[in-house]
């Protein structure tokens, strides 16, 4: 995921990512953010005094998207906004090394109190795992400011469940970069230009023909 995460870093964000292969509980995603908050106060740390600990986003893909939502619902004091890539339909939640039971890996976007951007694709695998209908249902279930974006093509190819991965790993993430970065710029830095993608009289996301069926509320 370093193509995308380094892209975010190039805008000034500090991105931390658990190396675990299963992050659906959200516990490690949340702990990683707290690690940086702690480091910000440690004199000898490279982060000392440089981090905005009041502006924290939880972001993820697939099982990690569920984990990002869970980190936010479990830790609303810390997490200010959420962004998901192919948040799976709940039927796919199961027990794994991170989750003793399926319920431990089941995210509940309806319980979010933070603004959220649900992104997914029209790809074959997402039709099974995180379909446009699934994402729309999540979008409609929330009571907060939310955006729904379903991308058609990315880097010249039809986008699907693993597109967010690095090109070196077979992904095609570039199509997501614009609005994903804009969401964080809007939510964490109050960037008015970025806000224009998701708010105002003509949110750009809604007019983008490569993101058909998008919505904001």
């Amino acid at each position: 995921m370093s193509d995308f995460l380094s892209h975010l870093a190039s805008y000034g964000f500090t991105v931390i990512a658990s190396t675990l292969p299963n992050t659906g509980s959200g516990n490690e995603i949340d702990a990683a953010a707290h690690y940086l908050v702690t480091q910000n106060g440690v004199t000898a740390s490279v982060y000392h005094g440089h981090l905005d600990t009041s502006e924290v986003a939880s972001v993820g893909t697939s099982q990690g998207a569920g984990g990002a939502v869970q980190a936010a619902t479990k830790d609303p004091t810390l997490i200010k906004t959420v962004m998901t890539f192919s948040l799976p339909n709940a039927i796919w939640a199961g027990s794994n090394p991170d989750c003793p039971t399926a319920a431990d890996c089941t995210a509940n976007p309806a319980a979010l109190t933070q603004p959220v951007f649900f992104a997914s694709t029209y790809g074959f695998w997402d039709a099974i795992i995180a379909s446009p209908a699934t994402e729309k249902a999540y979008f409609l279930s929330t009571s907060v400011h939310a955006a729904l974006g379903i991308i058609l093509t990315s880097d010249g190819k039809l986008a699907d469940h693993t597109s967010i991965q690095d090109t070196a790993d077979g992904g095609n993430p570039g199509g997501f970069f614009g609005y994903a970065t804009a969401w964080l710029e809007y939510q964490l830095r109050g960037n008015a230009t970025a806000a224009g993608a998701f708010s105002g009289p003509h949110p750009e996301l809604l007019s983008n023909i490569n993101w058909p069926g998008s919505a904001v509320k």
């Binding site: 995460l5 500090t14 991105v15 939880s58 990002a68 794994n96 993608a197």
Partner: protein
């Protein structure tokens, strides 16, 4: 002139302005779809934030007490160059994937 535009002119002569206008519009759209010909981005917010950001970046790792890498970090390499405090993004991978 494109073949489509030539047809548009012939249709205007034979069938009327309305159909010709539609064909001319189609010709115009066809000529504009090449990204290199667009004078400005069609979706400026998307274009602005799809471009690489202004700050040089670096990566790092965080290990636990047993020496296992538990986090990967992607961050600006020089915090003093930002002019603002760096917001935090915590990321969760897909099943089996790794951040790097």
């Amino acid at each position: 002139m494109t073949a489509l535009a030539i047809r548009a002119r012939r249709v205007a002569a034979s069938r009327g302005a309305r159909v010709a206008a539609a064909l001319a519009a189609a010709a115009l759209m066809a000529s504009l779809t090449g990204a290199a010909r667009q004078p400005a981005p069609l979706y400026p917010v998307q274009a602005a934030f799809a471009s690489p950001g202004p700050y040089a970046t670096t990566t790092g790792t965080v290990t636990d007490t047993s020496g296992t890498v538990i986090y990967d970090v992607f961050r600006p390499s020089d915090y003093s160059a930002l002019g603002f405090q760096s917001p935090i993004v915590t990321w969760g991978n897909g099943t089996g994937a790794s951040p790097s």
